[in-house]
Amino acid sequence: MSILKRTQQWATFARTWHIYDCTWQNPFDSAKVVKNHLMGLHKPIYHPMNDCGDHVVLINTGEIALPGDEWIKRVYFHHTGYPGGASWTLAWQLHEKDPTMVMKKAVYAAMKGNLQRRHTMQRLHLFPDDKVPEEILGNVTSQIKQTRVVPKRLDHIDKETLENFPAIMDYPKDYVLR
C-alpha cells in the first residue's frame, strides 16, 4: 500500500466526534438519531462488517423530558442473580440516582442486541450537565440536530421583548390582576 493510499484509508475511516444537547428532548426519539451516528449508519461507506462508528458526546442528560407520565410509569428492572434479587426502579428514581442512566439505557435499547453493541456503547460519552472536559470537547467537530425545538421559558425572555409584545386588548383600569 502506497503512502497516498494509506493516508486515504486513514481519512475515510477517521472517527468524527459529535455533540448532542439533550435539553428538553425525548430520550427515546433522540436515541434513534444518536444510534445512527454511533454505528456509522449515516456514512455512505457503512457496512456491518466495517468499523466506522463515530463518537457521540451527550450533554445535559439531566434535562431530558420523558413523554406523558413516563417518569412515574416507566420501570427499570434489575436482577442481582441471587434469589429475591429482583428490583424495579421507577424512571424518576433512577434519574435521581444517576442523571445519565435513562439516556444511556435508551441508546443501548435502541440498538440491536449483538456482540458489537457493548463496544459501540464505549463510544458514547454522557454528561449530566454542560460541563465537559476540555480534552473531550476539543475533539468535537459536529453537532447533531435535536429532534424537537426547545421551548423558551417566560422567565428566560428579556424584559424589553416582553414589554413590546403585542397585546390583543388592554385590561380595564379597575381590573384586578392577581
Binding site: 477517521a14 450533554i59 467537530t141 424537537r148
Partner: protein
C-alpha cells in the same frame, strides 16, 4: 451465504499477473479424464475421447492430458491449475456436448471457480474517479470556526412557524401599513 459455506474461500475476480494483457498463459495445466470402457454412464466420455480429444490436445499444447480407464466406475474430470487448485467434476451420464462445455470452462478459467465465493461481481482498477468518501468531503469550511456546543446548529431544520410568531408578523405588517397610511395623510 449458508452454514455449509462457512469455510468456502472468498475473493475478488482477478487475472493472475495481468494474464491476457500482452501474452496469455492457459491456467489449466493438467486435465485427467477417468472413464470406464464398458459402462453406459461413460458413453459420452468415450465418444469425446474418440472424436475430440486428439484435437483438444493439439490445440492446447500447454495442457497435459491424461486418460485413465478404470472398470465400472463413474466417469470423472480432474483439472489442475497453475495456482494449485484441483477441481474434480463428476461426468456420470453426460453427453459428449456437455463434456465439451465443461472442458471449455476449465480451459478458460484461472482456478477452480466452484470453490471460490465472489465478493464482488465486478473488477476495476479505478474504483472511484472523484476519490473515496471521507468525513470531510462536502463539508462547509465555515464549520471549522464553530465553537461547540452551538445552539444554532442544534436546532432542528423542519420547524413550522408557531401561532405566536405568525401573530407577531401580522402585527408588524399592520404597523407598517398604518405608518404608511399616516405618511400619506400627512402628504
Amino acid at each position: 451465504m449458508s452454514n455449509s459455506h462457512l469455510f468456502l474461500k472468498s475473493g475478488f475476480p482477478r487475472a493472475p499477473l495481468q494474464n491476457g494483457v500482452g501474452r496469455y498463459i492457459c491456467q489449466l495445466q493438467r486435465i485427467t479424464l477417468k472413464f470406464c470402457k464398458n459402462n453406459g454412464s461413460s458413453r459420452g466420455m468415450r465418444e469425446f475421447i474418440e472424436k475430440q480429444l486428439i484435437d483438444f490436445a493439439k490445440e492446447n499444447p500447454g495442457t497435459v492430458v491424461y486418460v485413465k480407464p478404470r472398470r465400472h466406475r463413474t466417469p470423472v474430470i480432474v483439472a489442475e491449475y497453475l495456482n494449485g487448485d484441483r477441481e474434480w467434476h463428476n461426468c456420470r451420464n453426460l453427453s459428449k456436448e456437455e463434456i465439451t462445455q465443461w472442458i471449455t470452462l476449465m480451459k478458460t478459467q484461472n482456478g477452480s471457480s466452484s470453490s471460490l465465493r465472489l465478493r464482488k461481481m465486478w473488477h476495476t482498477d479505478m474504483p472511484s474517479i472523484q476519490g473515496p468518501w471521507t468525513p470531510f468531503t462536502l463539508k462547509n469550511p465555515a464549520s471549522n470556526l464553530v465553537i461547540f456546543p452551538n445552539e444554532e446548529l442544534s436546532k432542528p431544520l423542519d420547524v413550522e412557524k408557531s401561532a405566536t410568531e405568525k401573530l407577531i408578523e401580522l402585527f408588524r405588517e399592520q404597523r407598517l401599513s398604518e405608518g404608511k397610511l399616516e405618511e400619506n395623510r400627512g402628504n
